[in-house]
């Protein structure tokens, strides 16, 4: 399971970076959000995967069973998904604005226009 997830994360990072290297503004933003999805999965995988082990302390014990999943990374991921949503929404709005002001979504031309 770890290996599959590792490959998925790698593919997400690679395609994110590839998209960011394109000249289109929209592809840049898509690349950024792929990168953040990859990161979320990375947190999930790095903190050890446990199947079917709810982090609940049994009534006859004092501590968590050894096989329980760690709830902490999931809380982290949840937070970062929410932040990612806000950031993506903002950057889409910014992209629309940039397109309106400059009339282009070509990043090279955007930079030339600045000179």
């Amino acid at each position: 399971m770890e290996i599959i997830l590792a490959v998925v994360i790698g593919v997400l990072y690679a395609s994110g970076v590839y998209l960011m290297l394109r000249r289109s503004l929209v592809k840049l933003l898509l690349g950024l959000s792929l990168l953040s999805h990859g990161t979320n999965l990375l947190i999930f995988t790095a903190a050890k995967l446990a199947r079917g082990g709810p982090p609940i302390i049994p009534s006859n014990a004092e501590t968590l069973p050894a096989a329980a999943a760690d709830p902490m990374p999931q809380a982290l991921i949840l937070t970062s998904i929410v932040i990612g949503l806000g950031v993506t929404a903002f950057s889409l709005a910014l992209a629309a604005r940039v397109y309106k002001v400059t009339g282009t979504d070509d990043l090279d031309r955007l930079n030339q226009g600045e000179e």
């Binding site: 790095a46 050890k48 937070t79 903002f90 910014l94 940039v98 002001v101 955007l110 226009g113 600045e114």
Partner: protein
């Protein structure tokens, strides 16, 4: 109980101010007056709260509190050691000064678009980053800060601003993704993200040789992520383009505070979590420091726009702060702390002055302006103070900041780096005298010369008579602080030394965080 209230105040005050501002906007959407009153009260309270926190830390040592009463390392830790407290004070001071400048310079469209609430959310994010004791919360505060800075940067309509904002947003989001990946791997390795707890647990984990390579990988992810935010070599290229474009008040607060949050994070992480003396990062950071200084200042030489020159100087000055960290002795860290304080005050002031220059002449291009000494003699004098301080002329604040770093460098035999630092401060003086000579000293260029220099660019002329006194108030305030730091260095430097010692030996910090659970 009282000390934890002091810790929360620098976060709650800006938040309440922002909320009050937004309520004001909802009730009176076109009134700038409500916005201004609320924001002024907020800025003053924030400054007061920062000073109170500083006094408390100075008197009783490190203050730490667990939010929601979950014991450390599980709860959300807020902690202020002397370094954090100094940073909070400087952010309160800059928050107030830039706010005063905003009152004089901001246009009503931005004000009723929610400028003030955004500004205070930005300050909340900055203070949060300084006060948190937990790496994941550091990430969250970074995002709070970034989101509001994105909007502040994009408020406005010019083309350069749009392109600058895209670069800024992209680079910062990449940095956040790298930071978060590092966090994930770190949690997988150690199982905690509380910085004090990490520091303790790392000592146990890093004994295992198979883990130590992974730790290096994680540490380099943090180095890259914070390096982008702090704009160190070779990750600085986004900065001059983005800080050049927005409203002068916005670029002043960015220039003063935002990159310094990156530097703060670098110093905090590389003293507490990955102490430099136990890895191969020290040499790398020494190189980064030297190259950042040198490349930044050389970049400035070729520029003609005031704010671009100043932006390149931010980069070069960041090099000095990293130099203090890289030397990694108590004196060097003290020098770094002192340098950050001095730099934030001076650099913000220079950006405020650049704003006045641009507004009064209609351009920031040095080939188009001149004769400001005759037109605005007060501004010329006020410019000299931070400019000379930036270059490190005694008896101003920059001299003592540079002196301590150079002493610290010579003490450990890093003569190459020391000579780079000295050479760079010479070039800084060259840049400042370039602004002085071209902008203030030479006679104002004729219409004809301006037209040739413009090469077809449109320059917005000054409309109406400005009351410059209100613009000068924050500039004079910061210049006064610069002079006071210079003359009061004898009293202030021991505080920095104490902060540097606290960074060099974080056992007090660790104990304060883990003890505060009870």
């Amino acid at each position: 109980m009282k000390s934890s209230a002091l810790l929360i105040a620098p976060l709650v005050i800006p938040q309440l101010t922002a909320v009050a501002g937004m309520i004001g906007l909802a009730l009176r959407p076109t009134s700038r007056r409500v916005q201004r009153v609320v924001a002024t009260i907020g800025a003053l309270l924030l400054m007061g709260a920062a000073l109170l926190l500083f006094a408390e830390v100075r008197q009783n040592g490190i203050v730490a509190a667990q939010m929601g009463s979950w014991p450390a390392p599980f709860g959300i830790t807020l902690v202020a050691d002397l370094f954090s407290a100094i940073m909070v004070v400087v952010s309160g001071l800059i928050g107030l000064a830039v706010h005063l400048y905003t009152l004089a310079s901001m246009n009503v469209e931005r004000e009723v678009f929610g400028y003030y609430p955004l500004y205070f959310i930005l300050l909340m994010g900055v203070n949060g980053a300084f006060l948190t004791g937990d790496l994941f919360n550091l990430y969250v505060w970074f995002e709070v800060m970034l989101m509001s800075s994105f909007v502040l940067m994009a408020l406005g309509r010019n083309r350069g601003q749009a392109a600058g904002a895209i670069k800024y947003v992209t680079l910062n989001l990449i940095a956040s993704a790298i930071f978060l990946s590092g966090l994930g791997l770190l949690y997988g390795l150690v199982g905690t993200l509380n910085m004090a707890d990490l520091s303790v647990k790392f000592a146990q984990v890093s004994a295992d040789p198979s883990v130590s390579k992974l730790i290096s990988a994680v540490a380099s992810m943090f180095l890259i992520a914070f390096g982008i935010k702090a704009a160190v070599f070779p990750l600085f290229f986004w900065l001059p383009d983005s800080y050049f474009a927005p409203h002068p008040a916005v670029s002043a607060i960015f220039a003063g505070l935002l990159t310094k949050v990156g530097v703060y994070a670098l110093i905090r992480v590389f003293t507490l979590v990955f102490p430099l003396n136990s890895g191969r990062f020290q040499e790398l950071l020494l190189w980064i420091a030297g190259l950042t200084m040198l490349i930044g200042v050389l970049g400035a030489v070729g520029q003609n726009e005031v704010r671009r020159i100043l932006s390149f100087h931010i980069i070069s000055q960041i090099g000095y702060m990293i130099m203090g960290l890289a030397l990694y002795t108590p004196l060097a860290l003290a020098g770094s702390v002192f340098y950050i304080f001095h730099h934030v005050v001076v650099k913000t002031n220079l950006f405020l002055i650049a704003g006045v220059m641009e507004r009064s002449t209609g351009s920031g291009d040095l080939t188009c302006i001149g004769g400001l000494y005759r037109k605005m003699p007060v501004l010329a004098v006020l410019f000299l103070i931070p400019a000379l301080s930036l270059a490190g002329t005694p008896p101003l604040s920059g001299f003592f900041a540079k002196l301590s770093l150079i002493q610290a460098g010579s003490a450990v035999g890093q003569y190459l780096l020391v000579s780079v630092a000295l050479f760079v401060s010479l070039l800084t003086l060259y840049s400042m005298s370039k602004i002085w000579t071209l902008g203030f000293w030479r006679p104002a260029p004729t219409e004809e010369e301006i037209t040739t220099a413009r090469r077809g660019r449109v320059i917005v002329p000054v409309t109406g008579q400005q009351r410059w006194g209100r613009w000068y108030l924050p500039i004079a305030l910061l210049a006064l602080v610069t002079v006071c730091i210079g003359f009061g260095a004898g009293e202030l430097f021991p505080i920095a030394v104490e902060a540097g010692q606290g960074l060099f030996d974080p056992s007090g910090y660790i104990e304060a965080v883990l003890r505060s659970a009870s």
